[in-house]
């Protein structure tokens, strides 16, 4: 049942080009991070079958969902990919219960059985007593829980979570995150988490992918991205500063400034000639003249 995702997504529209090769193992959670307009939501649309690819392919195990060259295109209704949309996108005219039951009813399950299962799922996301409410009378966090139950009830082969936390306040974020952690653990297929919040990505994902301007800038674990951010955006994500200059030994030249890399750095001898990550810019500035006591950290960057 559980099969990995293998895809290459190429789409070109209005001067924007998305070109991403994305593979996710069964049971693996990959977080896709990127600034607004990087193409994150387009990736969701492509994988879900809502926007056709211009080139490339999408395969789940041995099922070909889309192959632009071969002209294969499986519609969104037949892909069995569960999507938890940004802001939930619950049907406003249906109750929480009917929203969750929607996927089963669409697959022609009898109403009574669909409702019974939906009620079970609402219990599982701690919303049992609110099953009769319409989305307009649920809080943001409650709506996202309904959206999660609605996506999972159809037993999809892959799960896409598009910015599940973006509309929530801090306390409902924590609640939803715990719930997601529980349910993701029980979900066997590949999972893709779209977010621009590094904390959520670090906490929920096994692997991070940074997307900028339609292409992958960096891929790896949270630590790898923190130590060796490949772009200013990736550095911002990890809370470090990216200083780009020319390195020679432990001296980094940035414009007119010469910086000495701290001796406690894990591998100062391997300072990459073009880019390094620095923390605490204020201290960096203050210590410029006595650079040998600079508190900065740096590291070699991954090859591009």
């Amino acid at each position: 049942m559980s099969a990995g995702l293998d895809s290459r997504l190429v789409m070109q529209r209005d001067g924007f080009r998305l070109d991403v090769a994305l593979g996710i193992d069964p049971g693996e959670t990959v977080a896709l991070l990127g600034p607004n307009g990087a193409g994150k939501t387009t990736v969701v649309g492509a994988l879900a079958g809502l926007v056709p690819l211009d080139q490339g392919h999408i395969r789940l195990g041995n099922r070909v969902l889309e192959d632009a060259d071969a002209g294969i295109l499986v519609g969104p209704a037949e892909r069995r990919i569960g999507v938890m949309f940004q802001d939930g996108v619950l049907f406003p005219h249906l109750s929480a219960l009917e929203n969750v039951a929607f996927g089963l009813r669409s697959r022609r399950m009898p109403r009574r059985e669909a409702r019974r299962r939906a009620a079970g799922w609402l219990e599982a996301v701690d919303l049992g007593p609110l099953s009769g409410r319409r989305p307009g009378r649920l809080s943001g966090g409650q709506r996202q829980r309904v959206a999660l139950a609605r996506a999972l009830i159809t037993e999809p082969s892959m799960l896409l979570l598009d910015e599940p936390f973006s509309a929530l306040d801090v306390s409902s974020r924590a609640g939803l995150r715990r719930l997601l952690q529980d349910h993701l653990a029980g979900f066997q297929g590949p999972r893709l988490l779209i977010t621009h919040d590094p904390t959520e990505a670090f906490l929920l994902a096994d692997r991070l992918i940074v997307l900028e301007n339609g292409s992958v800038v960096q891929e790896g674990s949270a630590d790898q991205i923190r130590l060796r951010p490949a772009s200013p955006y990736a550095a911002d994500l990890a809370g470090v500063n990216l200083v780009v200059g020319t390195a020679s030994g432990r001296i980094l030249t940035v414009g007119n400034h010469r910086l000495v890399v701290h001796r406690h750095h894990p591998s100062p001898g391997h300072l990459h000639p073009s880019r390094s990550a620095w923390r605490q810019p204020a201290k960096l500035m203050a210590n410029q003249d006595r650079a040998d006591r600079s508190p900065c950290r740096s590291g070699p960057s991954p090859n591009r």
């Binding site: 387009t42 926007v51 619950l90 049907f91 005219h93 929607f102 996506a151």
Partner: protein, 284 residues
């Protein structure tokens, strides 16, 4: 990407959010609003009041029981409801095409659809006659093939009603479709719903207020239709003489009957519009 771009996606739809809108309303409208508004309201209210004041209340039952009145009432009920149903069945697909598909000449088609709204109804009726009359462009082969004659028949009354009223259906439904967030239909698709299920369980229920408003508007427009009906279908008592035509005829000869029939139209139309407003429009 044009349709599924993050910026358009990020805007939460009016419908999806349950957050309360805080509208601050000043206690009293300023004079430069209140005075013209009062004059405007008076323009709406005075004719109705005039009608109510002059209405022959005691003889109402007898007047409405006359053959002329009975036949006009029956004909108007049939033709206005018929026109509203046909406008629904044809107007919703037209609105759908205009809203969802990009095809060459779309702006021309939209202009064509809205033309009956700005055209004098008499001209519309004449145009219908040239097209669908027994010697008309389409009417002639239609007659040859089926023996069907639309002008000066009840069918012609309905057709004239559809012609003048359907633009209102197209306009309201297209507006509803346009303001519907595409993501609801997409979410339904990812949940395994085919096109028909999406239409039946998501799109139609979500644009239902627009559809109901469209029905109300087309029905009342068809009920009040005069010019196109007279030109295309004529003024035959019992066949094509609807309420407005009967009122017009009665004004010459039997003023009290005209008043009684007018009263019926005012009350019925007002009742429907007020009821719909409570049920659908206020809740939006």
């Amino acid at each position: 990407m044009t349709e599924y771009h993050e910026d358009s996606i990020r805007n939460p739809s009016r419908r999806s959010g349950g957050r309360s809108r805080t509208v601050r309303r000043p206690r009293r409208p300023p004079a430069f609003i209140a005075i013209p508004a009062a004059i405007g309201l008076a323009l709406f209210a005075l004719p109705v009041l005039g009608l109510l004041g002059r209405a022959p209340w005691r003889r109402l039952a007898t007047l409405l029981g006359s053959d002329l009145a009975q036949e006009a009432l029956r004909l108007s009920a049939i033709s206005s409801v018929g026109a509203a149903i046909i406008s629904l069945l044809l107007g919703v697909p037209v609105a759908w095409m205009l809203c969802r598909y990009d095809f060459p000449g779309r702006s021309l088609v939209r202009g064509l659809v809205l033309l009956p709204m700005v055209l004098p109804p008499v001209v519309g009726g004449a145009a219908l006659l040239f097209a669908l009359g027994r010697r008309g462009l389409v009417g002639s082969p239609l007659y040859e093939a089926t023996g069907l004659v639309l002008p000066f028949s009840t069918g012609g009354v309905i057709l004239a009603g559809v012609f003048v009223a359907m633009p209102l259906m197209v306009l309201t439904v297209e507006g509803g479709l346009r303001s519907l967030d595409h993501r609801f239909e997409r979410a339904a698709e990812t949940l395994g719903a085919g096109r028909w299920t999406v239409l039946r369980r998501v799109t139609i229920p979500m644009i239902a207020p627009s559809i109901v408003a469209g029905i109300a508007l087309t029905w009342s427009r068809a009920l009040g239709e005069f010019g196109a009906t007279l030109t295309f279908a004529g003024n035959l008592q019992g066949r094509t003489q609807t309420l407005p035509l009967a009122v017009f005829v009665a004004l010459e000869s039997d003023r009290d009957t005209a008043l009684a029939l007018s009263l019926v139209m005012v009350i019925v139309s007002l009742a429907v519009l007020v009821a719909l407003r409570d049920r659908w429009w206020r809740s939006r």
